[in-house]
């Protein structure tokens, strides 16, 4: 097997808030094309970890390498341009702008020719079509139903054409039907981008993820395929508890 360059690699990554070690020495490797889930109990440092990766907060120690390049000191907007997109945990669309404008913003940033009105329109509508929001393009984003706002959040991430799409609890508050649509969307996205997913919905994680990283108290507790994680005694003790029952249901 040919050795591939990891898409993302963190070494000894730490972030301390005063005495709280939110992320405490994480060595993490993500290969291109994966769907990776990061799970762990509340306060395990999941959101802090991905915030370090996308640059919203700066690490206390450690390095982050993306596509072979050290991005530890790169500001967040430059990381986005390198291909890291982050869809917020708390829905963070522009409520007073139309749905179209919400996706036009990321699209116009990624357009290289910079001028073509047609390319902007096509790019924006494509992102809306993939998320099933095309017929709502003219509606102010704040008037969308909650589930649709979550989808719009993902659409904005997609519109950036990222290499790495970070989704922070994307299915929180979605109905079962909406979750099914979402699973299809993520699987489709994974054909062109690597997906890093923070998620609490265990059956969903078990179905979607190729590989799961379990965080606990700022450290990696375990890492492996869904089956390995399900069988892992330490994980069961720390967090999962009823996972086998839930997954079977």
């Amino acid at each position: 097997m040919v050795a591939m360059t990891p898409l993302l690699e963190t070494r000894g990554l730490k972030r301390h808030f005063g005495g709280l070690k939110a992320v405490d020495g994480v060595d993490f490797t993500l290969m291109p094309g994966e769907i990776r889930a990061v799970i762990g109990p509340n306060g395990a440092g999941k959101t802090t970890f991905v915030s370090l990766v996308c640059g919203r907060i700066t690490p206390s120690a450690g390095t982050i390498v993306f596509q072979g390049r050290d991005i530890t000191n790169l500001p967040a907007h430059r990381r986005v341009r390198q291909g890291i997109a982050y869809a917020f945990q708390i829905t963070s669309v522009f409520p007073n702008l139309s749905v179209y404008d919400n996706v036009a913003l990321p699209v116009q940033r990624t357009l290289t020719d910079g001028r073509s009105q047609k390319a902007l329109r096509e790019g924006a509508m494509e992102a809306l079509q993939r998320t099933g929001l095309a017929d709502r393009a003219g509606v102010p984003a704040g008037q969308l139903a909650y589930g649709h706002q979550r989808l719009l959040e993902v659409a904005m991430g997609l519109a950036l054409r990222p290499r790495l799409l970070i989704l922070d609890e994307p299915t929180q508050g979605l109905s079962d039907g909406e979750i099914e649509d979402f699973v299809r969307l993520v699987q489709e996205v994974a054909s062109e981008a690597t997906v890093l997913l923070i998620e609490h919905n265990m059956p969903l994680v078990m179905r979607l993820a190729h590989c799961i990283t379990v965080l606990d108290a700022g450290r990696i507790l375990a890492e492996g395929t869904p089956d390995e994680i399900r069988e892992n005694v330490a994980v069961q003790q720390a967090y999962l508890g009823t996972i086998t029952g839930e997954a079977a249901a």
Binding site: R81, S92, V93, L105, Q108
Partner: protein, 321 residues
């Protein structure tokens, strides 16, 4: 801003406003003719303020310094170096742009209330500096620009800016340029980015935008437009005074913009006209005209928090830019 609105109606409306102002030149009695020229220049100041406050959501309380930078850049050039009108106008604009860039670099490190205070403090420093360097600036006496210095010659074209019609037309020309510059900017992709920064700066940053650079750019644009207004004010009305750098002239554009409607292209004009005439009418009846102005403003905030055109857009005319 859905990206769907037909631009024709929008441009026609703005062209009609310019035409109406042009027609007023021949219809207004002398007193109102002079007042309207003044209002148009101050509306340009308000439009510059609106770029920063209305669209990018940055509330500056120090825009008097940019207005005064334009005014003094022009006044000093004429008084001390005897330049012609075009060169003096250019001096004013460059002074405003450079000052806005420097202030932006420093003040934009803060946000919210801190930004208001920092801009206000810089503006006070600018005001006090004008008084301090009285040997150059004339201190609180200011500088009077002689009529001979206010005749612009551009090739064969001679425009006497102290003559009422020349003054009105120059004010209208500046107003028209500023209006269409604003309109084009806010309808552009960059305008969309500015609004995005106003609505949610963190999200905008996470879409790959350098929000600091964008805010700095709009600060420079806003300061430059304010400086152009200040420069024109000096040239058209022949007086450069420190009171135009005082805190009052930082508050006024905010009030004009709020009254007319923040983040509307025509709001600054509407707000300036209404405010000026309310003040003017009130002061002809009572010496307590500031009280009346205050009551009007309170009523505005209570019943029309989005301003005149903002309310109009919300209720009846969603296509207004």
């Amino acid at each position: 801003m859905t990206g769907e609105v037909s631009p024709l109606r929008v441009y026609l409306l703005h062209a009609a406003i310019i035409l109406a102002l042009f027609a007023l030149n021949f219809m207004l009695p002398p007193y109102h003719h002079g007042l309207m020229a003044r209002i148009m220049v101050l509306a340009v100041f308000a439009m510059g303020y609106n770029m920063l406050f209305g669209y990018a959501g940055l509330l500056s309380l120090g825009h008097a310094m940019f207005f005064a930078a334009g005014m003094y850049g022009t006044g000093l050039a004429i008084t001390h170096f005897g330049t012609g009108v075009p060169a003096a106008f250019a001096c004013g604009i460059v002074a405003g742009a450079v000052l806005a860039f420097a202030i932006g670099l420093l003040a934009l490190r803060t946000s919210g209330v801190a930004f208001m205070i920092v801009t206000m403090m810089f503006s006070q420093v600018f005001y006090l500096a004008i008084l301090y360097f009285a040997a150059w600036t004339g201190g609180d006496q200011g500088m009077v620009l002689q009529q001979a210095a206010r005749v612009a010659t551009l090739g064969p074209l001679v425009l006497d800016l102290s003559h009422p019609v020349g003054r009105y037309m120059a004010a209208l020309a500046l107003f028209a340029i500023a209006l269409f510059a604003t309109l084009i900017t806010v309808r552009s992709r960059w305008g969309r980015v500015l609004v995005a920064i106003r609505e949610n700066e963190e999200r905008t940053r996470m879409l790959g935008y350098d929000t600091f650079a964008n805010k700095l750019a709009v600060t420079v644009l806003s300061g430059t437009i304010a400086a152009a207004a200040g420069s024109a004010f000096a040239l058209l009305f022949g007086y450069v005074g420190a009171n135009f750098a005082a805190v009052q002239y930082s508050i006024l554009p905010l009030l004009w913009v709020l009254l007319g409607g923040a983040a509307t292209t025509l709001g600054p004009l509407v707000g300036t006209v209404v405010m000026y005439y309310v003040t003017d009418t009130a002061s002809s009846y009572t010496s307590a005209w500031l009280l009346i102005v205050g009551v009007v403003l309170i009523a505005l905030v209570l019943f029309f928090p989005k301003g005149i055109l903002g309310t109009l857009r919300e209720r009846w005319a969603g296509w207004l830019p």
